[in-house]
Symmetry: D2
Subunit: 355 residues, 4 copies
């Protein structure tokens, strides 16, 4: 296979690269990872970090000597020097903080999922459009070289017609209080499927269980109907003995598995499939033959998805071009998560997403 | 862990071991495997094999010099010498053949699934009871040492309270005409879960797709509700690039994975879990702690499940004791498969099994 | 890669396929496997099996109804009906039995290693030449599709110039009395290397230890010098916790690993290497660059090596063409094993093989 | 198994913890890793870093704002404020720099291997003793939790009597100019074996090849004789298609494999072995039985070996207690590497280490 390796991000760069000043709100799980990447960019600086926890701010200061910090988020929103704000707070606060930042004339990058409700996501999209500001959601995997490789594989036609997609994201722990396992883990799978296929789900069915904590779903199974009769299945769990990250696309020409835990052999492309005769057989036996061919493990040049994501955000601000994971992309995921919860509440029936 | 290794089968043996004479109908996929095992037993012989295909009969004769064969199934059913009949024909014929065999006064072992409809299974159960004959279904995995190990692990309390069970049975091919992937593969998973847990599912929800053949489901996802809030998920597919046989039980004390493709390391018992405090916390943070302990790969003495199954059938005939996988056990699987199909037809809602 | 898959054996078939009558001496480890394959061939039959053990003969009779057996090996050697003899006895008896069989005018296939001393192997070669009979040694791996694939990969130049070969053959147990671990396991590795590379080793160095049994080596390391500065290393052990069968060829264009325990992914071809500049660098830093490319797992059509080996033996008898693993090939392995033992006795120095 | 998990380092801490001032020479491969760990310690600071490369110094300054740097190593050696020096320069300079540092009254930690010749190592040991200064070598693996686990496993007797040890350390690349693959990689394996077993090798035999660069060995096999008839084999290569780090100890009670690339399942303890009868058998058959028991993957609490190593160095300085990897330990490895080279030059014969 001579498929070009995933070029994660090639933006046209304007001649003048104006200095960008970032503010950041939140320094929990994603905060430290992104702060380092935001700070590392050329012609950019992080001027103020806000978090409610003094301990976290102290950590940030130790890691970033000279960084200005505050426990008052309003200070970030009010600072006229700040061009853009990165929000990495609990899900319940995404909407309010993003709305305030946009209202204050700042570009906004919000951690996934964009908001806790689709109506909120729609309001942010409208506000950003009105203010002509960048609204981006941190769908990290859309900036990973492996996911880009899968996308190019799909686009190139190497896989043929897609039959179905299967994704599992399982591990033990990292329980959250602000979100259940669906809101916590499924945004990754959904954004990956949507980005790779270039499609939005039409209907969602889900089942889940609260094993350890009453009322908080910690294992869930989500089924999705996409256009062209493609189906997808997503399994997320906080209660698996080992970490599992497996993503399979089954096409009629080839099949591909992406196992994010498999070191240097993450992607395997299987030249396997089922050959169906063109004519309608009138014979009693199926006229099917199985094709077993070689497996290719492509060499995908590693790159840090968060660094690409930060650079992409900066480019979007500088060029005015809509980012890959813009508000609409974030809304699609939020609406799908909402529909999954509706389905669980209604006994697992398919809920239309109405995109 | 000092758990006793699975003793697959220890039956009390009557003093007199009368010679058993078997007839067999069907020599396709399971037929050759079972014929060899039926013939190998002490005090037993296979006196007649029937199959519609001359080619298959010729194969059987080459493998078993001296074996009597016929393409007329009635010859097996009518032969007064034959004590018991093993039926390994397409699913659509199971009921008729089993009924005729029971009516003719013969003990019956039918390949899985028992019948294509629960009403038929009930009729066979009633007939066998009336005639005081053994009716057994070939749920192979109930006779495997690994499944017995998992069952003992559950019974011993080592796993604690079960949260959920996940099973996948995926491969490329072996399409069938007489049954879709649910009837073909899911009987294995369902019989394993039921046997290990000693439970029957209460409600079933399923989704599936016909990717390669119109109208014949080749990939499916089945969700099951068991008593005590246990849930199970079964994923079956004829369209996966590689063979996958993974069975996971997540308990609150331990978790266990059974990967049937993992050579000599099929079972891994994880001393891992989530510790939840007894008192209701009033604090903002979850009072959960994760427990990571050692993983044990038990040494499970290998034994051939089909050989155990054959011996078990013979013992049931000789002792009159109900076999492990009797008609009721077979009915449970058939009824669950039926409910899965009803759920698919009704958009994925949960269907009560009404056991 | 468009390398043709290994065609294990395509012999030109003479028009008249005369019936071949085999005798077999020995029914221990290899005996049962080969008897089945010898018997399965078209226009061939096994007319008499000899073994000293009544128990083994009884086993053979159960598996092959109608087979004539004897505990007197002379009966096989004297039987004028028998065209060819397969010898699968302890190593110490190979030479005598093979010599008697050849003297009696019979074609001979001897299990590996051919003899326990190179002088004996040379005598058998001379005798077979004089009598115009086939002398073949059972180097099973030379008839396996994976080894044929590696050979074609080497011949095609895909791997470039070979740097070194590494082979390990480890497991727990199967201790033998008639041979130590070097004579027991290393013939596989040596015959594989010689066949794939089309070369004979020039010098041998070895080290070993007797861990469990005094005087009988159960773990050994063998280093070999081949022409063109190629080196090879063979590690054999009866004392490893798990089974390991790993064979690596490192070339300057590509590298290949063959892991015989890896299910359907036994061979991996790595498009990896080190690029060295043509000119002599005067700079302080090495002008080396590493090339990391894709990994290909070819689909190698499975075939039973023993069946191919039997067919090959029959073809050699019918056509008079020298078999692939003829006496010379067997001698090469025997002489190398001898030199390895000499090296151990002399503190690990390299011993010339003097081929 | 109830073996206590490896407690990597528990030193008695003196009441007064005086501030330690470190100087560092060298900022290549190990330098950046250690600088971060030296700087992170409590009551310690790195006051000056020397490196000949301006580019590397600029990197260091970016990573450690405020760090003083110089390209004049004498400045570190002459600085009266500096208590201790960490040397991470090419091997050829270890001896001179360490001698100067000790002469200047500074405690010294030198990267592995300690020196390029055993005479030099002996001189450093004498000098440190005379000056009453700490001389330590950076045998990283002696501070890793997995190696500590293996050591405790050996000491506890769980493995029984050790038969042999096998270690492979293979990868593609990281060629060096200052040392061949033996000096580059084998110090890890040797220090691990010596530390785990509490022994020194008595004799060494080696073979190697220069595949890519004339005169520089890039693949080598080293055999070692230890007391109590224990043998060890070390395979190192810069030319393997994939990274391999496998370390096996075969004992007569248990066997253990440590695969450093195996994520969270690095160590597997096999309850397997060969049972030998006490009495001398007069029968023809070996009276051996194989024991196949469970495999345990212990949970080894992760800790950063370099952090433990830095802390250990500081403790040795504060307490005056000899460090675990002191000059003698470093000398043992250097002398063994020397003997390996002598063996290669003499055709692979065993060279006595003369410890």
């Amino acid at each position: 296979m001579s498929l070009p390796l995933g070029k994660a991000d090639v933006a046209t760069t304007p001649t003048t690269r104006r200095l960008l000043r970032f503010g950041q709100i939140g320094y929990g799980y994603w905060g430290p990872l992104m702060l380092r990447n935001l700070a590392r960019q050329e012609n950019a600086e992080v001027v103020l970090l806000a978090d409610l926890s003094e301990k976290r701010l102290a950590d940030a200061e130790r890691n970033h000597p000279g960084l200005a910090t505050t426990n008052d988020t309003a200070k970030v929103l009010d600072d006229p020097q700040i061009d853009a704000v990165y929000i990495a707070t609990p899900l319940g606060t995404h909407f309010d903080l993003a709305r305030q930042a946009l209202t204050a004339g700042k570009h906004v990058l919000v951690e996934k999922p964009l908001t806790g409700a689709s109506a909120e996501a729609r309001e942010l999209i409208a506000l950003a459009a009105e203010k002509e500001l960048v609204l981006m959601v941190g769908h990290t995997f859309e900036y990973s070289p492996e996911v880009e490789y899968l996308r190019q594989l799909h686009i190139s036609g190497e896989l043929g017609r897609t039959y179905y997609i299967n994704s599992s994201r399982l591990n033990l722990g990292i329980f959250r209080r602000d979100a259940d396992v669906i809101w916590d883990l499924a945004p990754h799978d959904l954004s990956m499927i949507n980005y790779i296929m270039g499609m939005k789900p039409q209907a969602v069915s889900a089942r889940g269980a609260s094993c350890v904590h009453d009322g908080l779903i910690d294992v869930a199974y989500i089924d999705l109907k996409y256009p062209e009769n493609i189906i997808a299945h997503v399994h997320v769990s906080w209660l698996n003995p080992n970490k599992e990250r497996r993503f399979t696309i089954v096409g009629d020409r080839r099949m591909v598995c992406y196992d994010d835990t498999a070191g240097n052999e993450k992607i395997k492309v299987y030249d396997r499939g089922v050959d169906r005769p063109d004519y309608a057989s009138t014979f009693g036996e199926f006229q099917l033959s199985y094709r077993y061919g070689e497996i290719v493990i492509p060499f995908v040049q590693g790159s840090e998805p968060l660094a690409v994501e930060c650079q992409h955000f900066a480019e979007a601000i500088r060029t005015g071009k809509a980012p890959r994971s813009d508000g609409e992309v974030g809304l699609t995921v939020v609406r799908t998560l909402e529909a999954a919860h509706d389905s669980i509440a209604q006994g697992g029936i398919y809920i239309d997403t109405n995109f």
